[in-house]
Amino acid sequence: MNIEKAVLSVITINKEKISGGAPIFICKTKEEMDNVAANLEAILDGISHALSDELYIIVKH
């Protein structure tokens, strides 16, 4: 399956900012969030973009 230009997942430490849609990963600390994002980036073959300090998205380009 080939997905282009799609938000593959959302990683956050602030639960209130997100809802629905892509798979969501809620982390406790910034370090954990960086770690999860780095792993997901490699697994999903996408790029982690930071929308704010509390919210990353993985996007396939």
Binding site: A38, D45, G46, S48, H49, Y56
Partner: protein, 297 residues
């Protein structure tokens, strides 16, 4: 053996040599050694044969023989398709792809060069038959010089000024000078890009150049050539580490972000400067009638 044997032989030989002259395997490594070259030499030989028999055919009043040339034309168009397909197929395996613009440029060059071979053989055999071998040799040298001129198009350094600028981050945004390149979220990736990345600003020398360097095919060609010559810090599955070029909408400058393994600024400038300008990226807005009229008023 008849009176046409030597002129045809001469035409075929100089035509094939012409193809050999135009067939250089350089840093692009295309065509590949030996096998790739054999294909093009064989086609060059056929082209030379077609070119050199055209004149004797006309002299024998076999005018229909000239229609052979149309078969040649469709044959070489086929060559262009073949080149395009092969390169497009291989492109998906490149870490930094050539891009369709570059591929089309290479394919056009291969077709065009076969016509130059036909032209050389035709002129050579015509001169041999009309005058003698010495005139034919002179005409051949003239053709070779013409070919050399046709072969060498302009390069990026004729169009733009190249300046080094260290890439930097503003929050998660990656910038080269003031040109926004992309958003990189992970701090580790940011560190890698700051460590390995090099930024260059290409400033167009005139208005025509702006649209040429804005062409996506031309930009991809720059990235591909730099990655070939300087190495690239990237692997499959690391899409964040991708060399990119973005454009400043205000003044048409482009910001180049590369991730070379060899961090030599002067060398990178030379490599960017010698990237060929793709024929299909060239635009000449200043040549348009609307623009000229404005200039006259």
């Amino acid at each position: 053996m008849n009176e046409y044997t030597y002129p045809i032989l001469f035409g075929v030989v100089v035509g094939t040599i012409a193809r050999l002259m135009m067939l250089r395997t350089d840093y692009r490594q295309y065509p590949t050694y030996l096998h790739g070259k054999v294909i093009h030499l064989a086609l060059g030989f056929i082209a030379a044969g077609l070119g050199s028999v055209a004149v004797p055919a006309i002299m024998e009043k076999e005018f229909t023989a000239v229609t052979f040339l149309t078969i040649a034309a469709s044959q070489f168009r086929e060559v262009r398709n073949m080149e395009r397909n092969t390169l497009a197929e291989l492109d998906s395996f490149e870490l930094v792809p050539r891009g369709n613009g570059y591929i089309e440029g290479i394919a056009i060059a291969f077709e065009g060069r076969n016509y130059l071979v036909i032209f050389t053989s035709l002129v050579a055999s015509l001169c041999y038959l009309a005058w003698n071998i010495w005139i034919a040799i002179l005409a051949t040298i003239g053709c070779y010089l013409l070919i050399r001129k046709f072969m060498s198009g302009s390069t990026m350094k004729d169009l733009v000024d190249i300046d080094f600028k260290q890439p930097h981050f503003d929050g998660a945004g990656l910038y080269v000078d003031n040109i926004y390149i992309m958003n990189i979220g992970l701090p580790d990736r940011q560190k890698e890009i700051l460590k390995y990345g090099m930024g260059f600003i290409l400033t167009p020398k005139n208005f025509n150049v702006r649209s040429t360097i804005a062409n996506l095919g031309q930009r991809q060609a720059i990235l591909h050539d730099v990655s070939v010559s300087m190495g690239v810090f990237r692997d499959s599955g690391t899409p964040a580490l991708v060399p990119l070029i973005k454009r400043d909408l205000d003044d048409g400058r482009i910001g180049v972000l590369i991730l070379p393994q060899d961090k030599d600024i002067e060398k990178a400038k030379r490599v960017i400067g010698s990237v060929p300008v793709l024929e299909n990226a060239i635009r000449m807005p200043s040549e348009s009638k609307a623009n000229k009229k404005k200039g006259a008023n």
